[in-house]
């Protein structure tokens, strides 16, 4: 690990987001980078630097992840026994699962990868100085934090019990919890997504370095482009749905409640019109990360670049046509069901294309198994399971039995936790040297990945069985015959919790070490690796010019070159 003498000319002492113990500061000054350029709180809270804003997002999403995680832990503890004995009240349970869902979806997973890695890397990858609208970018973060804090406060003082799906007329007429404030919080936070999406799209169109043609864009950028399209087209519909809920609740205008002359199915259409594409807002950035990790750790160009980029766009577009597959037993017509199901099977195809191209990328590669690669492989496996079970749910007659059971819960956790969060963690490990200038401890990294993988499967695989057996979701108490599988799931959840705490600890701990990871420890292609780690505020000392295709790796040559990413950097830093 990286406690070698500090021969790096950059010198070890650099500021960070954790105070550096004086013992570590050295006589030689570190080059100015985005972290040590200024230290005041003000310089962070008013920063327009996309890299600092990315870190602000990292703090925000990590916080909300652990809040949502605590809620999940309590839910799992409650479900260890059939009766209600941890929370002592069904209302408390209902509020807790709502809190878990709202936080995890709107305040963790939707902003996680785009907000942290997208913000940090998108300008670096295309050779730009910053995003197109740095002020809007900062505003997005403030909107997000404002919405999140407001939601957290009201969830603690009273909470809501509608589930993250806000189905009417329960949410409009019957629930007497704080639906309105929660709706406003979600409404406001939506603008953060819209602004981020807008920023990414404009940046990708207008700020690419000379030579960075569309055909040379890293797939990470393509995926964020596709995600941004969904964000700006889908989020307004969610905002409208939430607004209408508010109108009906406040003024009794009959939109969704049949007692007032409304139609409850209309709400479901509006909600899923956003929320199915939203699952791709959460998933595509995960694919973005895996697209970068796999070629780097196989040391060869990605297989089928054009199809990979096309698949991302196809998923984004087709994702808008399948929302009705959440409503097969809602009372929508049988013919609507048939059409939505038919279209759903077409979304599966680009996902399969991605999986097979990743596999093909390993052929004739020079494969290494450092932590980021372990997470990427985990992503491929778990996403595959999530995807095939998604197809089962998209199968009309089969969904009839499985709908709203634990099978659905297992399915979307395989996609969102097994898929997106695995990718997020893989990405944080991969770019941690770039972000912080430090390596993480590889042994602990591998251990953490293993614990998470085992814990995850033990938590969620039994839920497929529970769902097929018929255990409905959102149940505070359940029949005794389901207990054994639930105990397994809770046991898995406790392993999973440990798994998530391990990286949290070693990432924070790594900040105490000197920043000597070097410019490009993974010897990766990609412009972000051409500049110093951590990068200077202006990203590149000399404006980069792109002359080669992306993923320009050579496996045969890689075999001959020593591979020691965890050695501190020896060579002098080249910037540009």
């Amino acid at each position: 690990m990286s406690d070698h003498p500090h021969t790096h000319p950059a010198g070890p002492a650099s500021g960070g987001f954790a105070p550096v113990p004086p013992a570590l500061s050295q006589t030689r000054r570190a080059p100015i980078n985005y972290l040590n350029a200024a230290y005041s709180v003000r310089s962070w809270l008013l920063t327009l630097d996309h890299k600092r804003i990315g870190l602000l997002y990292l703090i925000g999403v990590t916080f909300f992840f652990f809040v949502g995680g605590v809620a999940a832990t309590v839910l799992r503890l409650e479900l260890m026994t059939p009766g209600g004995d941890v929370l002592h009240s069904p209302d408390a349970y209902n509020r807790l699962f709502t809190m878990h869902g709202v936080i995890m979806i709107f305040f963790f997973l939707v902003p996680a990868i785009p907000g942290v890695l997208g913000n940090f890397l998108l300008p670096l990858m295309i050779g730009a100085r910053d995003l197109a609208f740095p002020r809007l970018n900062l505003l997005s973060w403030y909107i997000y934090m404002f919405g999140g804090t407001a939601a957290l406060i009201l969830l603690i003082f009273g909470g809501i019990d509608t589930g993250w799906t806000f189905y009417a007329p329960f949410s409009t007429t019957f629930s007497n919890t704080m639906v309105l404030p929660a709706g406003i919080a979600v409404f406001i936070t939506g603008f953060s997504s819209i602004l981020t999406g807008l920023n990414f799209i404009v940046t990708t169109h207008t700020m690419r370095a000379p030579g960075m043609t569309w055909g040379r864009l890293p797939l990470f950028v393509w995926a964020h482009y596709a995600t941004s399209l969904i964000m700006i087209l889908g989020t307004p519909v969610l905002a409208i749905a939430v607004l209408l809920i508010g109108l009906e609740r406040l003024f009794g205008i009959g939109i969704f409640d049949p007692a007032l002359g409304g139609d409850p199915i209309l709400f479901q259409h509006l909600f899923w019109f956003y929320s199915h594409p939203a699952v791709y807002i959460m998933l595509l950035p995960g694919m973005a990360v895996v697209n970068e990790i796999v070629p780097c750790f196989t040391r060869r160009p990605i297989f089928g670049y054009k199809f990979m980029a096309g698949a991302l766009l196809a998923i984004a577009v087709l994702g808008f046509l399948v929302w009705g597959h959440h409503m097969f037993v809602s009372g929508q017509s049988m013919y609507a069901g048939l059409i939505f199901s038919f279209l759903t099977f077409f979304v599966a195809v680009p996902s399969a294309v991605k999986v097979f191209n990743w596999c093909a990328t390993m052929y004739k590669g020079s494969v290494r198994f450092e932590t980021p690669m372990l997470y990427a492989l985990g992503f491929i496996g778990l996403f595959t399971i999530g995807g095939v079970t998604g197809l089962m749910l998209g199968s009309l007659g089969i969904d009839v039995h499985l709908h709203d059971t634990y099978f659905v819960v297992a399915h979307f956790h395989y996609i969102m936790v097994g898929g997106s969060i695995m990718a997020f963690l893989g990405g944080i490990h991969f770019w941690w040297p770039k972000i912080s200038g430090r390596m993480y401890p590889e042994l602990w990294g591998k251990l953490g990945a293993l614990v998470i993988f085992v814990g995850f499967n033990l938590t969620f695989f039994p839920q497929f069985l529970l769902g097929y057996l018929g255990m409905p979701r959102r149940y505070y108490e359940y029949p005794g015959e389901f207990q054994v599988l639930n105990v397994m799931s809770t046991a898995g959840a406790s392993i999973l919790a440990v798994g998530y705490i391990i990286p949290l600890i070693y990432f924070i701990d790594s900040l105490r070490k000197p920043a000597n990871a070097g410019r490009n420890p993974w010897r990766a292609t990609g412009l972000e690796w051409q500049t110093a780690s951590p990068p200077p505020t202006e990203n590149f000392a000399v404006a980069p010019v792109v002359t080669t295709p992306p993923y320009n790796y050579d496996p045969a040559e890689a075999e001959q070159t020593p591979w020691n990413p965890f050695q501190p950097e020896q060579e002098p830093v080249h910037v540009g």
């Binding site: 019957f174 099977f345 093909a360 009309l396 709908h403 959102r474 054994v484 591979w563």
Partner: protein, 354 residues
């Protein structure tokens, strides 16, 4: 400890079809997952760093391969669509011999009534082999009626009937759940379906409150709520006779056009609660709304009654104002002194006036 179920019981006529389709898709999924697993681990191991293998000229694209892994998954996906669509259509097509049982969901219980009149809460007793069609409505929020052993589920909506059918094939006691989150006691809004032999079922039906049949109760409500005062034989106002109306097309006045609408449950329900929304051609919109006055159970009973008289031929044409397609709508008959907000007879029963 290890005596817990892994597979759900299979106790209805669609359950075997369901399980066939389910296991087909599981097999496809397992095959696909294992295939990916072997591919990933196999390639990763074969080409792991340090192994002496040929790494020259790694291919970067292949149209043939892309076509292969677009085509094959598409074909497999279509087979999944086909098998599940056939199943879905089956789940939506009740057989002709199905007995209709009305179900009302409310926070947090299920209320059911047999055609013979017997009422149940959170339980449903059925004879084995008898197809059943549930006509369901909610009094408040959305619920969902789910019997895992039968592989059937249908959301139960406020303001609108939804239907679901099944034919139990095995004697036994099966769980019934609510699967649409509906508030505080969602998780205990369930009960049992008890499938019995024909003889046991008849014995069960005969015990305790025999009471009136569903149709009988509906007829009583029809009179009690003064429907008969307008729609009955000796009516003083001009209103259509309801014999024979159920299941037939009814001419509805829409602006100055006439459209035909099928008189199904939903139509009858809307006619009672929102009479102004569908006025029968040739009549004045004088029928009062019963919104808020009849419970969901009462409505179901009245509909059962109207349905029961549906097979009776309508009384002679003289009693009905003729609708003549050529001449358009006949001028409606004036009802002297009639107050729309106070139907005749409203004064007869004081407890009915609100």
């Amino acid at each position: 400890m290890w005596n817990f179920p892994i597979l759900p019981e299979s106790a209805s006529s669609v359950a075997p079809d369901y399980d066939f389709a389910f296991w087909y898709e599981v097999a496809v999924g397992v095959f696909f997952t294992l295939f990916v697993l072997v591919l990933v681990l196999g390639l990763a191991n074969r080409y792991r760093r340090g192994r002496q293998v040929d790494r020259s000229h790694p291919p970067t694209h292949s149209l043939k391969l892309e076509a292969l892994w677009i085509g094959v998954p598409l074909v497999i996906a279509m087979s999944m669509f086909g098998i599940s669509a056939v199943l879905y259509i089956k789940q939506f097509s009740p057989p002709g011999d199905a007995v209709e049982i009305p179900v009302v969901g409310k926070q947090w219980m299920w209320k059911l009534q047999h055609p013979e009149g017997k009422k149940e809460i959170n339980e449903l007793h059925l004879p084995v082999g008898q197809a059943v069609r549930l006509k369901m409505i909610s009094q408040d929020v959305i619920h969902s009626f789910f019997i895992p052993a039968f592989r059937v589920k249908q959301d139960v909506l406020p303001g609108r009937y939804t239907e679901m059918w099944f034919r139990p094939t095995k004697i036994g006691r099966y769980r019934l759940f609510c699967t649409e989150y509906c508030g505080t006691d969602h998780s205990v809004m369930g009960g049992w379906v008890e499938v019995m032999s024909q003889a046991d079922y008849e014995r069960w039906l005969a015990t305790e409150q025999a009471g009136e049949s569903l149709v009988e109760e509906g007829r009583r409500l029809f009179v009690l709520n003064h429907c008969a005062g307008c729609h009955g034989e000796n009516a003083t106002v001009q209103a259509p006779r309801l014999e024979g109306v159920y299941g037939r097309p009814v001419p509805i006045q829409v602006g100055d056009r006439v459209e035909f609408v099928q008189a199904d449950d939903r139509y009858i329900r809307d006619s009672i609660l929102l009479p102004k929304s569908q006025v029968v051609a040739g009549y004045q919109p004088i029928m009062p709304s019963y919104q808020g006055q009849l419970s969901e159970e009462d409505l179901l009973k009245i509909i059962a009654y109207i349905k029961a008289i549906g097979n009776r031929p309508a009384p002679g044409p003289a009693a009905q104002p003729q609708y003549d397609a050529d001449r358009g709508i006949q001028p409606a008959v004036e009802v002297p002194g009639y107050d729309v907000d106070k139907p005749p007879g409203a004064t007869l029963l004081p407890e009915q006036t609100r």
